[in-house]
C-alpha cells in the first residue's frame, strides 16, 4: 500500500502540523518506505491471536477516593506562553 502527497497533507492536518511542499515530498517518500517495510507483518496469520496493549498485565488500578495535594495554580501557570491570571489565554476558539 502506497501513500500519496494528498494523504500526507491530510495526515499533517490531523497531526496539527503544517508542512511546506518540500516537506510533503520528503515525508511522502519516507512514510511510503516505512509502510512498505511493515507490510511484512501481513505474512503472519494472526486472526486468532489476542492483541497486547501492555506487556505486564494490569487491570483497573484503583486508589482510595481521597483528596490529595495537587500542583498550586501559580506553579501550573508559570510556564504558560500567554496568561490572563488565573487563566491560560488562547486565540478565539469559536467563529
Amino acid at each position: 500500500m502506497s501513500i500519496t502527497a494528498d494523504e500526507v497533507r491530510h495526515i499533517a492536518l490531523l497531526s496539527r502540523l503544517e508542512l511546506s511542499d518540500d516537506e510533503v515530498e520528503l515525508y511522502t517518500g519516507h512514510l511510503a518506505e516505512v509502510l512498505k517495510y511493515v507490510e511484512k507483518l501481513k505474512e503472519l496469520d494472526v486472526d486468532d491471536v489476542e492483541p497486547t496493549s501492555h506487556a505486564i498485565p494490569m487491570f483497573n488500578v484503583m486508589r482510595e477516593d481521597e483528596v490529595m495535594p495537587s500542583l498550586p495554580q501559580e506553579d501550573a501557570l508559570e510556564n504558560a506562553p500567554d496568561r490572563a491570571d488565573p487563566y491560560f489565554r488562547v486565540p478565539k476558539t469559536t467563529e
Binding site: M1, I3, E7, V8, I11, A12, L13, L14, S15, R16, L17, E18, L19, E23, L26, Y27, H30, L31, E33, V34, L35, Y37, V38, K40, L41, K42, L44, V46, V49, E50, P51, T52, S53, H54, A55, I56, M58, V61, R63, L71, D75, A76, E78, N79, A80, P81, D82, F88, V90, P91, K92, T93, E95
Partner: protein
Amino acid sequence: MTEPYQLTAWEAAQALQNRSLSSSELISSVLRRIGEVEPKVHAFQVVIADKAKEMAKEIDDRRARGDSLHPWAGVPIAVKDNFCLKDAPCTCSSRILENFNPPYHATVVQKMLDAGLIPIGKTNLDEFAMGSSTENSAFGMTRNPWDLDRVPGGSSGGSAASIIADETVLSIGSDTGGSIRQPAAFCSITGMKPTYGRVSRYGLVAFASSLDQIGPMTKDVRDAAGLLQIIAGHDPHDSTSIAQPVPDYLTELTGDVRGLKIGIPKEYSIEGMNPEIEKNWREAALFYEGQGAECVEISLPHTEYAIAVYYMIGTAEASSNLARYDGVVYGRRAEGPFENIVDMYRKSRSEGFGSEVKRRIMLGTYVLSAGYFDAYYRRAQRVRTLIKNDFEAAFKTVDVVLCPATPSPPFKAGEKTDDPLEMYLSDVFTAPLNLAGLPGIVIPGGFSSEGLPIGIQLIGPALSESRLFNVAHRFQMETDIHKRRPTL
C-alpha cells in the same frame, strides 16, 4: 594517580565514608573534568554547577555531624534531559520545550535526591528520545568519546558519553526501543532497561507509554545494581508501576553463574551483521561456559518482525502523547496573529518539532486513522503477543538469553541521517524486549579491530534483574574491558 572523577559510585562511597574524600572535592573534580572534555563531547544540555556545589557542601556538613546518610550520598549523577527536575530546564532536546522549567520532580529524581545523589547536569538526547544517534537534538549532537567522528548511540547518547568520558560518576536514561542499551554498547558502559513497571515513569516525558522504562547507565554492574536499588519501586503516581518489593540487588550480587542455562537465539544471527560483533558474541558464550554455565541454542521465531511492530506501536503512542504540545499550557507558541486556534496549534508545532519527531507523529497518526487501524496498529499488537510468547517459551528452558546489543559498532555521524529506516534497524536486538516488557542489560564486551566498542546483551524473564546483574557481574569480575577509557 586516580582522580576522583574516575571513581565508580561504590568506590566513591567508600572514600566518602572513610573521609579520604569529601563530596565537595568529588564535585569539583567532576566539574573540572567537564570543563576539559565537554567542548569535544557535548554530553550535556546544561551543567548544574552552583547548585551541585551547594548540595555537596550540605552533604559534607551532614556527614561531619554524624547524620545518618545513604552510603552514596554526595555522589554526582547526570540526568537525561527528558526527566523533570524542578527549577532546571527540561528541553527533551526540542525547540518546543526550549524554555520549559518543570514545576515538579520526577519520582526517580525525588528518590535520587532523597538518597543524597547530586544532579550534575541534564544530558543530551535525540529529540523526545526519538533516535539512535543523538543527532536529532535541536541543540547539537553528542560525539562518541572513542571516536569523535562517530555517534554515541541514542537516544540516551549524552548520558552514555558522560559516563565513559568520566564527566560524571552515575547517569540515568530512558529506553523505549533500546535508548539505554544501544548507546551503552556504542560507548562501552553498563546500561540496564529494567522490567516494564519496575521503575516509576512519573515525571519522565512520555514517548511511547507501553514501552518506556527508566534505567541506570553506569561505569560497572555494581553501580547499576546500586542505582536501580535507589530508583526502583511502586509509585502511586504511576498506575503501571509494579507493587512487588524491590530485592536487595547489591547483597544478591554474587557473580555465581555455575549451573546457569544460557540461551543463544539463532534468529539473532541476522544477515548483514558485522562479523566482529558475531565473533564477540560467540566468545562471550565461551566465556560463560568456562565459568560453569551451559549455553544452548534456542529459537525466538518472530524476531524479524520486531522492528515493524515497534515502529507501528511506538509511533502510534507517540502521536497520541505528543498531542499535548499545543502552545497553550507550556512550551513554545508561534508568533501570532492566528486565523483560529487550529492555526495556532499547527504553526506552534511545526516550528517547535524537528523532522524526525514530525515523521513519527505523522506515521503514528496514519496507523491509528480510520481505515488503517486494523491493518497496521491492531495487527502490530497481535504480532507483539507472538514476540512476547517467544520469550515466555524460551524462559521455560533457559535462565537468561545472551545476544549482541547492536548489529554494528558505532557508525559515523551523518551516515544514516538521510535514511530513517536504516537508522530504525539499529534497534533490532533491543526493541523486542520493550515489546515484551522484559529486563535487559548491556555491558562492554570488547572492541573491534578499529578500536570501536562492542556490547553484549543479557535478557531475562520479568523481574529477574538480580539474575541479570549477577551474570553480567561475572564477566566484569574476570575481565577489565569495562575499565578501559578513551583518550580525550
